[in-house]
């Protein structure tokens, strides 16, 4: 089995006393979570645990092949889902530089990021204590040139722990753009990734004082000053952000009907 050869190899390599840099880079190749602050001793421990895990896994695999070989038929009640493939493994990264903003609601934006190999390398070679930030710019109605945003916000990010972030923004119906970068020793912000522009949804009536109309038969557009709507809507006030989580637990406790649950999430409420 190739697994066996791999961990045997790894054991031998560990005995050659590799440097901390070698250890760290190997660990990353294997997908082990190394933190920048880790000491050599800690990284070695990481490897030892990894090897133990592989050994255990192989033992298990051997046992299961033995047992399935001894039984002539497969258990009939086995239900693999979906369609015969057990939970598939999918990549954690696509090795592309990407910073994507998505609107959650009028005051929240979600950001996620991914890095190319070269960017990851830059990040990994940061001197100890380099601080990484997500910068959010309000770029409503402007062409962003790096320093003309209406407002700029900054959030410290720990790249070892975070792959995405939800942040609160002050303005609904506004354009936001983000950059992910680090601060140099002399206090400069260096951008590594730049995001798309993300518009937060509006949550209040327009201030516009005009109405545009289309006369369909005459195919003519008419623009008139607005007296405001003839009907005054009763707006719903949305609860706290993600407040519906409370509603789910409320609905799930007791004997609420599924349609009530569906109605909480869809179609009944709007806002």
């Amino acid at each position: 089995m190739s697994g066996e050869r791999n961990y045997e190899k790894l054991k031998k390599w560990l005995e050659t006393d590799p440097t901390i840099q070698e250890l760290k880079s190997k660990a990353k190749d294997l997908g082990l979570k190394v933190k920048r602050m880790m000491k050599k001793r800690e990284v070695v421990k990481l490897f030892k645990n990894y090897i133990k895990k592989l050994e255990k896994l192989e033992k298990l695999q051997n046992e299961s092949t033995a047992s399935s070989a001894s039984s002539t038929s497969k258990p009939s009640q086995e239900r693999q889902r979906p369609s015969g493939e057990s939970t598939p493994e999918i990549p954690q990264t696509y090795e592309k530089d990407k910073l994507i903003l998505m609107p959650v609601n009028p005051n929240w934006i979600h950001a996620y990021w991914d890095f190319s190999k070269s960017t990851r390398e830059i990040l990994e070679n940061f001197p100890e204590g380099t601080r990484v930030f997500l910068r959010i710019y309000d770029v409503t109605f402007i062409q962003f040139n790096g320093n003309n945003a209406h407002r700029t916000f900054e959030i410290p990010i720990n790249l070892n722990l975070q792959k995405n972030y939800y942040f609160n923004v002050p303005m609904p119906n506004a354009d936001y753009l983000a950059e992910l970068g680090y601060v140099t020793k002399d206090g400069r912000f260096v951008s590594l990734l730049k995001s798309n522009v993300c518009r937060t949804p509006s949550n209040s009536p327009s201030q516009s004082t005009r109405e545009r109309w289309m006369d369909i038969r005459k195919k003519r557009k008419i623009v008139t000053p607005s007296d405001g709507p003839v009907i005054r809507e009763v707006e719903r006030i949305a609860g706290s952000v993600f407040g519906f989580e409370k509603e789910i637990s409320k609905a799930l406790s007791g004997h609420s009907l599924d349609w009530q649950l569906v109605s909480i999430f869809r179609s009944g409420r709007g806002i």
């Binding site: 990549p91 998505m102 545009r212 009907i231 009944g268 709007g270």
Partner: protein, 535 residues
């Protein structure tokens, strides 16, 4: 005399679930339950009203995955098999309940006859494909069937990828045409999710109207003079209807909505769970997992009564309740319409009431009866009329030009149901798949010159991508029911897609794998990967 217009809009949708390798697959039952409890009862209602010469008008979106499932012969056969089992079970129940209780016995006989009739309609009237029924009433002018974006993908999260939006709409239009024989005039956007600019794409595909939630109008770029009670048109010439919050509230509300009435059937007392295991075993999931059979003997009784103390259900009592509620709803709509007519100085209001179709029948068993009675009452009303959305579009003479605000019909009105800590991980993959799909399609821009193996792999990539995009998976992760299935489906489509991508890029197509994927995810036979070139 001017009247108030009521646009009833039923959104019929289920995610594409087909597991051809299995004789029985639990989640395929979602479709079977909806056929038995919602879709066929609706067709029966159309027929009865037609025979009585009652005018009725309904708008329905039947989504592309639902159309593909209803037209799928394997699923049709599985449904027939399931119904035969259910008839067998109902017959056993008729005998068994004779000694148990007269009210149970009455319902057992009812289910036995009802299941037989449903199977007859399914198999003998429509030859297994009930889409024919909906098409029939579309052609007769009672029903307006509109489409939906291809796999019910959440379009606001594709905003930075125009080709992904176009593919969702193009495949939605194409699938509708394949099954309905004509071009769709309107579209229901998945989750009612709109963002300013989306209307441009709809116009490209000749779509004339769509729907938004109420606040889409309230917070629009210019205030609609008549609020949500008249459609508007976007600068790209697409008509928009907005949801009337009152109608939804009256029907849907978890506390005061009609479906909570004590006389209605209790969803959670099903003999699939109530009967002893050995007896019910042949009629549930073969693995022994208990499932709904559709045979239920209890009524809600009162919300405060625990499940094990529910009283017995009576179909005639429930029908009476549905009729009362239909009359109540009519009175409410008439009052609302008169008020609006006054306020609008004689201009006719348009009251739009959109619902998940499956609410009627599946969740609310008596919903189709309510709807039928409402149609009966409203056909005689002097104050309101039911009307199809497309009829409004045809009749309207003057319309305000407005760009609606970004909105959805999800909890709190925006995107958080489809983007939160339970499901945010999927978007890295969904976005990357669009990029890889586009990249691969660009390598083979001329489908006529593309080697057939490569072409098949590219088309299958497009299927996997579309299936992964169903908003249902994110929705299910949020509601915390059947999460495992939703996570698995998402990952499975990502995995298959990436495998196919590697094949296309390397030029080495593993035909065994490809055929396996084609057989398993067998949606959209007419798919054309070059739609991803429309950047």
């Amino acid at each position: 005399m001017p009247k108030g217009n009521i646009v009833f809009m039923l959104h019929a949708h289920l995610p594409f679930i087909h597991h051809p390798q299995y004789d029985f697959f639990l989640e395929e039952n979602w479709l079977f339950e909806a056929i038995t409890e919602t879709y066929i009862p609706l067709l029966r209602m159309f027929k009865r009203l037609e025979e009585e010469n009652k005018k009725f008008n309904l708008t329905m979106s039947i989504t592309p995955p639902l159309m593909e499932m209803l037209a799928n012969e394997d699923l049709q056969q599985k449904y027939i098999k399931r119904m035969k089992k259910m008839i067998e079970l109902a017959e056993k129940e008729v005998n068994r309940t004779q000694k148990e209780n007269p009210r149970k016995h009455k319902m057992a006989k009812f289910y036995y006859n009802d299941f037989k009739e449903i199977l007859y309609i399914f198999k003998d009237v429509y030859g297994g494909n009930i889409l024919k029924g909906f098409k029939e009433y579309l052609e007769k002018g009672y029903l307006d069937v509109i489409t939906c974006n291809a796999t019910h993908g959440f379009l606001p999260f594709m905003e930075q990828y125009p080709q992904a939006i176009r593919a969702q709409i193009e495949q939605g239009v194409k699938t509708y045409e394949k099954h309905m024989g004509i071009k769709p005039r309107g579209i229901w956007l998945a989750e009612c999710a709109y963002f300013p600019g989306l209307d441009k794409y709809l116009a490209e595909y000749g779509l004339e109207f769509f729907f938004v939630d109420s606040h889409g109008f309230w917070y629009a770029d210019e205030r609609p003079r008549y609020g949500v009670y008249r459609p508007v048109v976007t600068p790209n010439n697409v008509f928009v209807f907005a949801r009337d919050p009152e109608s939804s509230e009256q029907v849907w509300n978890a506390d005061i909505g009609y479906p909570g009435d004590g006389r209605y059937r209790e969803f959670y007392r099903d003999i699939g769970f109530d009967r002893e295991f050995e007896y019910i075993k042949p009629f549930i999931d073969p693995s022994g997992v208990r499932i709904n059979t559709g045979i239920k003997y209890h009524k809600i009784t009162s919300k405060n009564v625990p499940l094990n103390e529910k009283d017995f259900y009576d179909i005639d009592e429930a029908k009476k309740a549905a009729k009362q509620h239909a009359l109540d709803f009519l009175k409410k709509k008439e009052a609302q319409a008169s008020g609006l007519l006054n306020l609008f100085e004689g201009l006719e209001p348009v009251i739009v009431a959109p619902f998940d179709a499956e609410l009627f029948g599946h969740w609310w068993y008596e919903g189709p009866i309510f709807l039928e009675e409402f149609m009966r009452y409203s056909s005689e009303s002097k104050l309101i009329r039911t009307i199809k959305a497309s009829d409004i579009v045809d009749k309207i003479e003057k319309v305000q030009i407005v760009t609606p605000a970004a909105s959805t019909w999800g909890a709190n009105g925006y995107n958080e149901v489809w983007l939160n800590g339970t499901n945010d991980w999927i978007y890295l993959h969904l976005h990357e798949m669009v990029e890889k799909m586009t990249e691969a399609a660009k390598k083979y821009p001329n489908p006529e010159e593309t080697p057939s193996k490569i072409k098949r792999a590219l088309n299958q990539m497009a299927r996997e991508l579309l299936l992964a995009q169903s908003s249902d998976w994110a929705f299910i992760m949020t509601t915390n029911t059947s999460v495992e299935y939703a996570v698995n489906r998402t990952k499975t489509h990502v995995k298959r897609f990436l495998e196919l991508y590697e094949m296309v890029i390397s030029g080495k197509i593993d035909m065994r794998r490809l055929s396996h994927f084609e057989e398993t995810d067998d949606i959209f036979q007419d798919i054309d990967y070059t739609m991803y070139l429309k950047v």
